[in-house]
């Protein structure tokens, strides 16, 4: 089993004191970020990338730190869902349905412990799925030429726009805006400046980190300003009696966890779906299967275990296309892709063959982070609950200032900070208008790569456009892209949780 041998090498990379320490810090920060309403995994990781970058961490440790934050945020989202009925991030939306009723029945401790264990089960098995599935996908991806890659990028936009958006036309607008921004700067192949209007700052293009931090973090601050009072949600009323889950409860929910892990993982691997869909589908399915007495929605432990296992499994599954193909399937993995690009790592099949230590070190770190998160979360949940009580009127300014520090650290340029504020305002307006931000980010990230592949393909064919659909693989991808974009229009109403404006993208 060469996969297991590679994984063992990965553990050798990850198991240093420095990396373990970073994983611990990442898990801790991540849980807090996930727990705080208004700071989701995308926002949290987005703010931290420039910081990790300016700290000058080498690639592997930086990756370990930030993916620990990512996994941690997935764990943290459930805390405020269960205690306050406010999802800490979007994937945790479904956990409120049964988690909060459990709190009302005085079973908050059990719900927290159970959801922690369910998160662990989901994430742990999904990471195994990643270990075995990603190398298989890499084998397929190695057959891809530029035309296939171009089709693949289109597929990513199509499914993201199709599944994740409520209005396909707006997803199209978002993707085009992102791609359009990516075009700004000197053309890599011919060296001519494009759409720079002679502004020297724009010659290098707009750095994706500036765009991401502006769109996610700054717009979030503006969104909070709409509501006058930045008070902390009421939490003190809940008393945590015991933070353990009785064995009988675990036994009862084992089936739910198992099923949801599988469903969540598949939802995560599919491009465009991500963790929100994972938790939504697992909850809905579990309700169909197990809800014989009508207890779901009234504090059924299975209703807590299912979405938590589902969303954490999806978080692991979403890493498969991101690492193996370089095409992220969800908002958070798009931000993780930004992180890889900031570290000068291009994900995709070549990453597995040329820099196996980075990939397998990362995967090993995911296993380590998982165990750390379980150990952190079950006994220390009290601390995280305390953090929830920080009022947003103090939290959001701090978030904004840290965003500024991160971007200032990148270049020290006033121009970049102004661009970031511009993106913040733009992000706010787009969010109000229900235009999804993830395709914008994806467009900025993938635009140049997409164009490069298309132009390479056309160079090979000497300008003959039919090369773009000239191979069976390419045709398959195009068909998937069309289905992925059109099918949700027909069946999408059943696949999507209702919108909640208080949660981050």
């Amino acid at each position: 089993m060469d996969v297991l041998a590679s994984l063992a090498d990965g553990f050798a990379v990850a198991l240093t004191w420095q990396n373990l320490g970073l994983a611990l810090i990442g898990c801790f920060l991540g849980t807090i970020i996930g727990a705080l309403p208004g700071l989701g995994p995308s926002n949290g990781v987005a703010i931290l990338i420039p910081l990790a970058f300016t700290l000058g961490l080498p690639a592997t440790p930086a990756l370990i730190l930030l993916t620990s934050v990512y996994y941690g945020a997935m764990y943290g989202g459930r805390i405020s869902s269960i205690l306050l009925n406010i999802p800490g991030d979007e994937p945790a939306l479904m956990t409120t349905l049964d988690g909060y009723p459990m709190t009302q029945q005085g079973k908050a401790g059990e719900a927290l412990a159970l959801s922690g264990i369910a998160s662990f089960v989901g994430a742990f098995f999904a990471t195994w799925g990643l270990v075995f599935l990603a190398p298989q996908l890499v084998k397929v991806a190695l057959l891809f030429g530029p035309a296939e890659y171009f089709a693949l990028f289109t597929l990513a936009f199509a499914t993201l726009g199709g599944i994740a958006a409520r209005n396909q036309a707006k997803a199209v607008i978002a993707a085009a805006l992102g791609l359009g921004i990516a075009m700004v700067g000197v053309d890599h192949q011919t060296g001519v400046p494009r759409l720079t209007f002679g502004e020297i700052h724009l010659y290098e293009g707009i750095h994706f980190l500036i765009a991401i931090v502006g769109l996610f973090a700054i717009s979030e601050v503006l969104l909070f300003l709409e509501h006058a009072k930045g008070e902390a949600p009421e939490a003190s009323a809940t008393k945590l009696n015991r933070i353990t889950a009785p064995l009988s409860m675990l036994k009862k929910t084992a089936g739910a966890m198992g099923r949801s892990t599988i469903v969540g993982f598949i939802a995560g691997v599919l491009p465009g779906a991500g963790a929100s869909l994972g938790s939504f589908v697992s909850y809905t399915m579990e309700k169909r299967i197990s809800d014989k007495d009508g207890t779901f929605g009234k504090g059924d432990p299975r209703g807590v275990a299912a979405p938590e296992a589902g969303n954490n499994a999806a978080a692991g599954g979403a890493l498969v296309p991101m690492l193996a193909l370089g095409v992220p399937g969800s908002g958070t993995t798009a931000v993780l892709l930004a992180m890889l690009m900031a570290l000068n790592i291009t994900p995709g099949p070549l990453l597995f063959t040329q820099q196996p230590d980075v990939v397998w070190g990362l995967i090993a770190a995911l296993f380590i982070g998982n165990i750390m998160l379980l150990l952190l979360n079950v006994p220390m949940v009290g601390i995280f609950v305390r953090v929830l009580q920080v009022p947003t009127k103090y939290l959001m300014p701090a978030v904004a200032m840290i965003a500024f520090v991160g971007i200032y650290g990148l270049s020290g340029s006033t121009f970049d900070l102004l661009v970031m504020i511009g993106f913040g305002v733009g992000g706010y307006v787009l969010r109000k208008l229900d235009v999804p931000l993830v395709p914008v980010i994806l467009g900025i990230l993938l635009g140049n790569e997409m164009e490069k592949n298309m132009r390479r393909a056309l160079t090979i064919s000497d300008g003959e456009y039919s090369i773009l659909w000239g191979s069976p693989i390419a045709i398959t991808i195009w068909v998937l892209a069309i289905v992925g974009f059109v099918a949700p229009v027909l069946i999408g109403r059943f696949l999507r949780p209702k919108k909640d404006v208080t949660v981050s993208p």
Binding site: V172, I173, Q189, P397, L433, E451, M454, L458
Partner: protein, 143 residues
């Protein structure tokens, strides 16, 4: 109405984008597709999406009242002022004011907001400058 404005704005943007894309100068050596084609294609896609939104708008979103909208504009002004203040007055002083203002507008009492501003500025300075050795803006007094 909001959606029609969005669609209309993006449509104008798309047309401008296509126009500017056609103005890109192509060098002597170029690949068959050249640097123009892809941006033009993006402009066309943007135009299509905008047209649809213009003709079939979604229900109106809930916009904040004029007063709250003023708050948002004010916050943006504070942030812009902050970026210009950074090189002039250094990190700690600028951040104290910026964070304090934001915190005040988010509902803290002026006194609490002032303390929050100082706390956030010092906190970030200690963590990022003293512990993590990140480069922050340095004013005339070195902090």
């Amino acid at each position: 109405m909001s959606d029609r404005i969005l669609g209309g704005t993006c449509l104008v943007l798309a047309l401008l984008y296509i126009y500017f894309a056609t103005q890109i100068r192509v060098g002597f050596i170029s690949d068959p597709m050249g640097p123009k084609a892809f941006p033009i294609a993006i402009g066309v896609v943007l135009a299509l999406g905008s047209l649809y939104t213009l003709l079939r708008p979604d229900p109106e979103p809930v916009w904040p009242k004029l007063g709250r909208l003023g708050e948002i504009v004010f916050a943006v002004v504070v942030m812009v002022a902050y970026t210009y203040a950074l090189p002039e007055f250094g990190f700690i002083i600028s951040t104290t004011f910026a964070a304090g203002f934001l915190s005040w507008r988010l509902g803290a009492t002026p006194f609490a907001a002032a303390i929050a501003g100082v706390g956030i500025a010092l906190g970030i300075f200690v963590v990022f400058r003293l512990i993590l050795k990140l480069s922050l803006a340095i004013g005339p007094w070195g902090f």
